[in-house]
C-alpha cells in the first residue's frame, strides 16, 4: 500500500512537474518585471504631479522664488553641483557614513536587543536607561561626541549609529517578546541552547519586526547625518544643508533635501527588497 501511494507521490515530482514549476517561475519573474515598471509608474504619479504644480506656481509667481525656488532652478543647482564635481563627493561621503553607522548601530541593536529580549535581568538592568536615551535629540549629542571622540570620522559614524540603534533595538525587543511560545517550545524540545534558539527560532520569527526596525533605523540614520556633519565636516549632504541655511540659499537647502529624499528612498528600496525576499514564507493576505 505504502509503496503504491509513494509512487503516486513521486510521480507528482516527475520531470514534467518540475518543468511546470519552472515555467511558473519564469512567468512570475516576467510578471515581476512588468509590475516593477508599474510600481515605479504609479509611485511617480503624485511626486510628479506635485513637482509640476510647484513649477507652474513658481512660474506664475505665486510662490516667490526667494522662498521656494522652482524645481527647475533646484535641478540646475544640482546639475551645477554635479558639474563642478562636488556633488559626488557629498553623496558618496554621506552614503558611506550612513552605511557604516547603519551597520554598527544594527549590530549593536541586535546584540543588546537579543540579550534584553531574552533575559529578564538584562531587561531590568539595561532597558530603562536605553529608553531614556532614546528621546535625546541628535543635536544634543553633538558637543558630547566632539568631547569624547573628536571631530574625525569616528564621531560622525557613531552619531549615525546612535540614530540607527534605537528603532532597531525597540523592534527587536518587541519582536522577540512577540514570538509565539509554541515555536520556542519546539526549539527547546530539540535541545537548542539559548544562542541556537535565538538564531534558529527567535530571529527568524521576529524577522518582520526586525526588518521594520532596520528600515526605521535607516531612515533615522539619514536624519542623524545632519547632526553628524555638524562635527567638522566639509562635505556631505548634511553639510550642504546646514551650509545652505547659513548662506540663506534656498536652492542649496532644497537641493540637499531632494538628494536626501532620493538617496534615502533608494536605500530603503534595497531594504524593502530584502524584506520581500526574506518574508516570502509569511502567510499573508494577497492584496
Amino acid at each position: 500500500m505504502a509503496e503504491q501511494q509513494n509512487s503516486t507521490v513521486s510521480g507528482y515530482a516527475s520531470p514534467a512537474q518540475i518543468d511546470i514549476k519552472q515555467k511558473g517561475k519564469q512567468d512570475s519573474s516576467k510578471k515581476n518585471k512588468g509590475s516593477l515598471l508599474q510600481t515605479v509608474l504609479y509611485g511617480s504619479i503624485i511626486p510628479v504631479a506635485l513637482i509640476v504644480l510647484w513649477e507652474l506656481l513658481s512660474r506664475a509667481g505665486v510662490v516667490p522664488s526667494n522662498q521656494l525656488p522652482a524645481p527647475t532652478t533646484i535641478l540646475e543647482k544640482i546639475i551645477s553641483l554635479g558639474q563642478d564635481g562636488s556633488l559626488w563627493g557629498h553623496i558618496w561621503i554621506t552614503t558611506y557614513r550612513v552605511f557604516a553607522g547603519f551597520i554598527i548601530g544594527t549590530v549593536a541593536a541586535i546584540v543588546l536587543g537579543a540579550v534584553v529580549g531574552f533575559y529578564k535581568k538584562a531587561e531590568q538592568l539595561f532597558d530603562p536607561m536605553i529608553q531614556a536615551f532614546r528621546s535625546i535629540p541628535s543635536l544634543a549629542w553633538v558637543p558630547l561626541f566632539i568631547l569624547w571622540m573628536g571631530i574625525g570620522e569616528t564621531s560622525k559614524v557613531v552619531m549615525i549609529a546612535v540614530g540607527v540603534f534605537f528603532p532597531v533595538y525597540l523592534n527587536i525587543v518587541s519582536g522577540i517578546l512577540g514570538v509565539d511560545r509554541k515555536l520556542i517550545e519546539v526549539g527547546k524540545m530539540y535541545g537548542l541552547n539559548t544562542f541556537q534558539l535565538v538564531k534558529r527560532i527567535i530571529l527568524p520569527a521576529s524577522l518582520p519586526s526586525f526588518l521594520v526596525g532596520m528600515r526605521s533605523g535607516l531612515g533615522l540614520g539619514w536624519m542623524f547625518v545632519v547632526a553628524a556633519e555638524l562635527m567638522g565636516a566639509s562635505q556631505g549632504l548634511g553639510f550642504l544643508l546646514v551650509f545652505g541655511q547659513n548662506m540663506s540659499s534656498p536652492e542649496t537647502i532644497l537641493a540637499s533635501i531632494i538628494l536626501f529624499a532620493i538617496i534615502g528612498k533608494l536605500s530603503d528600496w534595497v531594504l524593502k527588497q530584502v524584506e520581500v525576499r526574506s518574508l516570502h514564507w509569511q502567510d499573508r493576505l494577497e492584496k
Partner: protein, 306 residues
C-alpha cells in the same frame, strides 16, 4: 499680516531680539517699543533670533518685520533675493577674532599655514578668517578649515582637535576667561557690523513706522551708552552668561557710535562681499557693489538721527 492695512497703519509690529544685539535686549526689557506704539493701538510682538540665519529666515517668511543680523549675512541674503533693507546699524561689534590656545606657538596669521582652523562656513567669523588670511596674501587653501558650529569650534580648540578658531562672542569671551585661550589676531574693521534689517514690503507700506522703530532703537542705544555696566548686567541675566563675559562682549568689544548706515559700512560690506565671491560663496555673476547699494538704505536713519 501687518501690511494688509490699507491706509498704511499696521495692526502689529513684529520685532526680533537677539543676544548679539544688546540694544534689542534693552529695548525689549524696558518695553519702550510697546510704549511708543500703544497710543496708536499697535501691538508689538517679539521673536527671539538665535542667529543671523534665523533672523533672515523669519524675514523671508514674513514672520517678523525687523530682523537683526550681521552685515555679511544681510548681504548674502540680498544676493539670494531676500527682500530686506538695512536701515540701521545697532552696533559695531568686535564679535569675532582669531583664537588659539595658550602656548600653541601661533602668534600671527602666517603661523596658520597648514594648521587646522575651525570656523562656521558662511558666517561672520569665517569671513573674518578669509579676510585676515587675505590681508597677508594667503587664502583659505593654505590652511585646513574645519567646519564647526561656533560653540563646538571653541570646544574643539580647547580639546586640541584644532589649532585655531575663528571665534564668536560670547563663546570667545567665555573661553578666554575659563580656558585661557588667546586672541592672536583682532581687527574690529574686519567685522561686518550689526545690521537691523526691515522687510522691504513693510518699509514701502509703512515708512513712518520704520522711522519710529529707529527712534526707539536710538533711545535704547543711548541708554546703553550711558549705563554700560547696567546694560552688561542686563545682558548677562537675559542671556544666562556671566557678568564678566557680558562685560567683555558689550563694554570692551562693542562700539555703539555710528548707527546711521554710511560709507564705512558700505566699504566693509563690499570688502566682505569680494571675499565671499572669491571663496565661491557668492555667485560669480553677482555684482557686489550693486547688491551692497541695494541693501543699505540710510534714508530712514538719517531723517531720524539728523
Amino acid at each position: 499680516s501687518s501690511d494688509s492695512e490699507a491706509e498704511g497703519k499696521p495692526s502689529k509690529i513684529r520685532l526680533d531680539y537677539a543676544y548679539y544685539s544688546p540694544t534689542s535686549i534693552v529695548l525689549k526689557e524696558f518695553g519702550w517699543a510697546e510704549e511708543a506704539f500703544e497710543e496708536e493701538g499697535i501691538e508689538v510682538e517679539w521673536t527671539l533670533s538665535q542667529g543671523s540665519n534665523k533672523a533672515i529666515e523669519y524675514l523671508n517668511s514674513d514672520s517678523v518685520d525687523f530682523g537683526s543680523t550681521a552685515g555679511a549675512a544681510a548681504l548674502i541674503a540680498e544676493s539670494n533675493d531676500v527682500p530686506l533693507e538695512n536701515v540701521y546699524v545697532y552696533s559695531q561689534p568686535e564679535w569675532t577674532a582669531l583664537v588659539t590656545n595658550e602656548g600653541s606657538g601661533i602668534e600671527s596669521i602666517e603661523d596658520l599655514k597648514g594648521k587646522k582652523v575651525a570656523a562656521t562656513l558662511g558666517t561672520d567669523p569665517y569671513i573674518f578668517l578669509v579676510r585676515a588670511l587675505d590681508s597677508v596674501g594667503m587664502t583659505i587653501n593654505d590652511i585646513e578649515l574645519v567646519n564647526l558650529q561656533h560653540a563646538d569650534g571653541g570646544n574643539a580648540l580647547v580639546n586640541g582637535d584644532v589649532d585655531a578658531w575663528a571665534g564668536l562672542d560670547p563663546h570667545m569671551a567665555k573661553h578666554e576667561l575659563e580656558s585661557g585661550t588667546e586672541l592672536f589676531f583682532r581687527d574690529i574693521d574686519l567685522n561686518t557690523y550689526g545690521f537691523l534689517n526691515v522687510r522691504e514690503e513693510f518699509a514701502e507700506n509703512n515708512p513712518e513706522y520704520v522711522e519710529k522703530v529707529i527712534e526707539v532703537y536710538e533711545k535704547a542705544r543711548k541708554w546703553v551708552l550711558e549705563n554700560p555696566d547696567e546694560a552688561a548686567e542686563l545682558l548677562a541675566e537675559e542671556a544666562d552668561i556671566s557678568t564678566e563675559v557680558a562685560n567683555i562682549q558689550l563694554v570692551e568689544r562693542t562700539i555703539l557710535d555710528n548707527p546711521v548706515p554710511g560709507d564705512a559700512h558700505v566699504e566693509a560690506i563690499k570688502a566682505a562681499g569680494d571675499v565671499l565671491q572669491q571663496a565661491g560663496d557668492l555667485e560669480e555673476d553677482d555684482d557686489v557693489e550693486a547688491l551692497t547699494n541695494e541693501l543699505i538704505n540710510p534714508e530712514y536713519a538719517e531723517s531720524v538721527i539728523e
